[in-house]
C-alpha cells in the first residue's frame, strides 16, 4: 500500500512537470474580436452639419445581460444624410475599433441595409479594394414621415465575396433590426 502511495506521488510529480510544460502564458491576446457596440453617425448633407448618433451596445456579448443601449434611429423627412458605421469592442480598455479591421479586410466583409416600413433609401455604399460594395459609409435619403426598421447585417465571407452576392451568403457577424422613425 505504501508503495502505491509513493508511486502516486511520483505520478503527480511526473504529470506536474508535463503540465507546467503546457502552461499558458499569463498574458493572453484578446480572445476574439468581440463586437459590443455598433454606432451610426449621421451627418446631414448640405444642412447646418447636424450630427446625430445612434448606438447599440451589449458589453458582455451574446447571452448574459441584455443589450444596455439600443437607440431608435430618428431622422428628419426629405433630407439626405451621410452615414458612417463604427464597430467597437468596448469590453476592453482601451476600446478597440474593429471598423478598421473590417475596412482593411473589406474583400471578406459586406454590410447590407434592408429597410422595412421606414421611408428611407440607402445608397452610395463605399467599396472595398476590389470595387465590390462594403457599406461602412452610405447615403440615407428620407421621404415622408414613417416608422419601421432598417436591418443592418454584417456578413463575413472569406475568399468567396463576389459581385451581386445575396444576403444569405456567408456567416452573419451582426444582424440588428434597427427601429427607425422618419419624423
Amino acid at each position: 500500500m505504501k508503495k502505491s502511495f509513493s508511486k502516486f506521488a511520483l505520478a503527480l510529480l511526473m504529470v506536474g512537470t508535463l503540465l507546467s510544460g503546457c502552461e499558458k502564458d499569463a498574458e493572453e491576446p484578446n480572445e476574439e474580436e468581440l463586437i459590443t457596440t455598433v454606432r451610426l453617425t449621421f451627418t446631414e448633407v448640405g444642412g447646418a452639419g447636424t450630427v446625430s448618433t445612434f448606438t447599440f451596445k451589449d458589453l458582455d456579448g451574446e447571452g448574459g445581460a441584455a443589450p444596455s443601449v439600443f437607440n431608435d434611429i430618428v431622422l428628419a423627412p426629405s433630407k439626405s444624410y451621410n452615414m458612417s458605421i463604427a464597430l467597437l469592442n468596448e469590453s476592453v480598455s482601451p476600446v478597440e475599433d474593429i471598423t478598421t479591421e473590417v475596412s482593411n479586410e473589406g474583400n471578406d466583409h459586406q454590410i447590407y441595409y434592408v429597410t422595412s416600413g421606414a421611408n428611407v433609401t440607402i445608397s452610395n455604399l463605399n467599396n472595398d479594394a476590389a470595387g465590390l460594395p462594403l457599406g461602412l459609409t452610405s447615403t440615407w435619403t428620407t421621404g415622408t414621415a414613417s416608422t419601421g426598421n432598417v436591418t443592418i447585417t454584417l456578413k463575413h465571407k472569406p475568399g468567396v465575396k463576389a459581385a451581386g452576392d445575396a444576403i444569405t451568403k456567408g456567416d452573419t457577424d451582426i444582424q440588428l433590426a434597427w427601429p427607425t422613425r422618419v419624423q
Binding site: A11, E28, A66, Q175
Partner: protein, 788 residues
Amino acid sequence: MLIRITTLLVSVFISLSLQSQCTLQYAGKITDGDTKEILKGAVVTLKDVGVKALTDSNGNFMIKGLCAGHYDVIISHVGCQPLLTHIHINDDYEKWYELPHAVNQLEAVKVMSHNINVVNPTEIKGAQLDALKGLSLGETIKNIPGVSLLQTGTNIYKPAIHGLHSSRVLIINNGIRQEGQQWGNEHAPEIDANLASRISVIKGAGTIRYGGDAIGGVVLVEPKLLRLVPGIGGEVNVAAFSNNRQLSIAGILDGNLTKNNAISWRLQGTIKKGGNSKTPQYWLDNSGLEEYNFSAAVGYKKTNWSSELFYSQFNTKLGIFSGAHIGNLTDLMTAINSTTPPDYITNVGFTYRIDRPYQKVQHHLLKSKTLLSTGAIGRINVTASFQYNNRLEYDKKRFQSSEDVPQLDLSIATAGLDIIWDYFGHKKMKGTVGLVGSFQDNQYSRRLFIPNYQSVNGGGFITNKWTISKWAIEYGMRYDYRKIFNTTDNAGNRFSSGIYSSLSGSLGAAYVINSTTKLSLNASTAWRSPNVNELYSDGLHHGAARIEKGNANLQPERANTFLSELNINAEKWTIETGAYFKYIKNFIFLQPSYPPQLTIRGAFPAFIFSQTNAALYGFDVSLGYNVSHHLQVNTKTSILRAMNKRTDEWLIQMPADRYQGEVTYTFNNRTLFKETYMRLTAQAVNQQKRIPKTGPIEISRPDGSIYYAADYAPPPQAYFLLGAEVGTTLSLHRKDYSIIISASNLLNHVYRDYMNAFRYYADEMGRYIAIRIKVPFAVNNNPKNKNK
C-alpha cells in the same frame, strides 16, 4: 509453452507404504489461482496412459487403478492456462492444484465463465473488434442494442445508452473513470479505441462499483493484458477507409522479461489521419481529423502481489464542417431551407488540411495499480490515477489578421485514489468493498462557457453476490459525496458552492431455468449531482443556435431503474432480450424560455436548465439463428420511449427505433485460410416522430404563416442502409493474419440522422469501403534465450 508451478499453495503428500499393484489412486482439487474459485469440469489427463478425469462440482477429481511410476499430467480448464506437471507415485497421491487464470492476470476479478451472471454486459472483443478497428470509441459500440450515437458531423461521436449520454454515461478507461469535458454534447470521449482489447457496455444495473451517477450506464474500455509468457511480441493493425481517405495504423508491442520475476511491459501507439468526408453528392468542407496516441505499461508480478504502472496520451484535432458554422438564426434557417449547403462550401474537393473551425484535445492518464493478495479469501486493489485534459476550440477567424488563438480553452485535472477489496473466501458468496476519492480542478481561459471550479468527490460501496444452486443474487450499496467550490469566472465573479451527497443501490437476481435459459431481474437507484455547465453556463451555444442558461438551484437527479433480461443460448437459437423502465426524478434538461434574447447577431431562443420527471422505457432484443453450420442470421432491435412526465410530452433528442439484420456465411477452414466469412448487413432507422409538440422557436411556413416548435427543423426521414463484409484469417508460419474488407452505406444512400447535430446542414457520409489488416509478430518467443 512453459508452465510454472509456482502458484502451488497446498501440497499434501501421503506416503504410507510401498505398493506394487496397480491399485493406486490419484486424487486432487483444482481451483482458479486468481479467484480461488472451485473449478468444475476441469480436465486432468495422464498423457502417457491416456487416462482422463473431470472435476466434480467441488473441484475434486480422482483417478483409480494406477500403477506406481512417473506420469506427465495436463490439467486444463476453459478460461485458464493449462498446467503441465509431473508426478511420481508409489502410493495413493493427493494434491491441490491452482490454475493460473489466462485472461485475468493483473486485472480485477470480473465475471467467471461458469458463474451465473446477474448483470449481463454486452461485450465487443476479438474478431468483432478487429472488424471495427480504426473507428472512434463511439462508432465501435454503436451496434450494441440500446446504444446509439450522439453525433456532431462525421467525426465527433458520443455513446448514448438508452438515450442518455454525456455525464449520464460513465466511461471507465482501463479501470479509471474518464474525466474530460464529458458534459458537452460535441465533446467525444478522449480515448484511443485501438488500445482496447475488450469494450463492454453495462446498461442500467450493476454499475455500483463504477459510480453512483451512471444513470444511463457504463462503457468499460479494457486494454490487452500484460504479457504472461516470456518473450516479445506484437501486433500491427492497419485500417484504410475510402471515403475520407483515412489511414489508421495502430501498433502494440509487449514483452515479458524473465520467467521467474514476471516483469512485463507493453507499448502501444496509434496514428490516424483522415481528410474531408464525402456525402453521396458533395464533399464536406473541413471535416478531416487527426489522432496521435500512445501508451506504455509496465507490470511486476509476484505470488502475493502485483503492480502495474500505466501512462497514456491521447491527442486529436477534429475539423468542424465549415457549412455548420453559422452566425445567427437567419443563417441557420437559410441552411435548413436549402437542401444542400451553398456552392461555395460544396465546391471544395478533397483535402487533408484542417482549417478553422476545429477542436484540439489532449488527454493524459497516469495510473498505478497494485494488487495485494489477502490469502485465500481475497485481494486488495489500490489504484491511484491522475488525468489531465485540455480542450481547445477554434472558431472561424473573424479577420485574417486575428490571432491564431482558440476561443474556448478548458483544462481539467483530476487525481483519484481507489482502495478496493475483492473477497471470495466464502463458497457461495463473493463481493467487493471499496473506498474511492478524487480531487478535480477545472480552469478556463478566453471565452467563458463553464466557470473555474474545484471539486472533491468521495464514496464508499459494497457489492455482494450469492450463488445458490440455480439462483444468483447480487446487491450493492454506495454512498457518494460531491462538493463543488472555488467557482469563479476570470472577471472575478464568484458563484455559489454546492454540496451533494446521497445513496445509490441495486438488487438483482438471476435464475437459471434450464441449461439454455436464464432470466434476470434488476432494480437499481442512482443519482447524479448537477454538472457545472447545468449550474452556471451562460452564453450562446453556437452549434445549437441558442442561448443556454445555467440554474444554480438545480437538485440532483434520481433515477430508479428496473431491468429484466431473458437469455437463451440453445443449439440453434441465441436470444438476448432486455426490457427496461427508468424513472428519473428531477431530470435536468434545457427548458425553452420566452421570449427570445436579443444579441448583436439578432434574437436567439433562450433555454434554461430546468428539472422535470422523466420516464424512459423500452427494450433491446438480439436474436441469432443458426440456419446451418455455415449460415447464421442475426437481428437486433432497439426501441426507446422517453416522456417528460410533468408535461406529458415526449422528450426531445431521443434516438428513433432502430433495427439491424445480418446474414453471415462462414466457409470451411482451409489450411491457409481460416474463419473465412461473408456478411450482408442491413440497418433501418425510423423517423423520430415522438418529439415535443411546441417550443419557443418561431418557424415560418412557406405560405408565410408562423408556428412555434421545439426544434428548428423536423426530424429527418427514416432511412435504410446496406453493408457488406468479407473476412478471412490467413495462417502462415503459425501466425494468424486477419484481413477484413467492409463496405458501409453500400447503395450510397442520401440520408440524415436525427441524433446528428449537423442534420440541419448536410447529409451523412456516402458509401465507404474499409480494409483492415492485422499482422501479429514475435520478436522473441523462445523462453530459453531469455532465461538467464
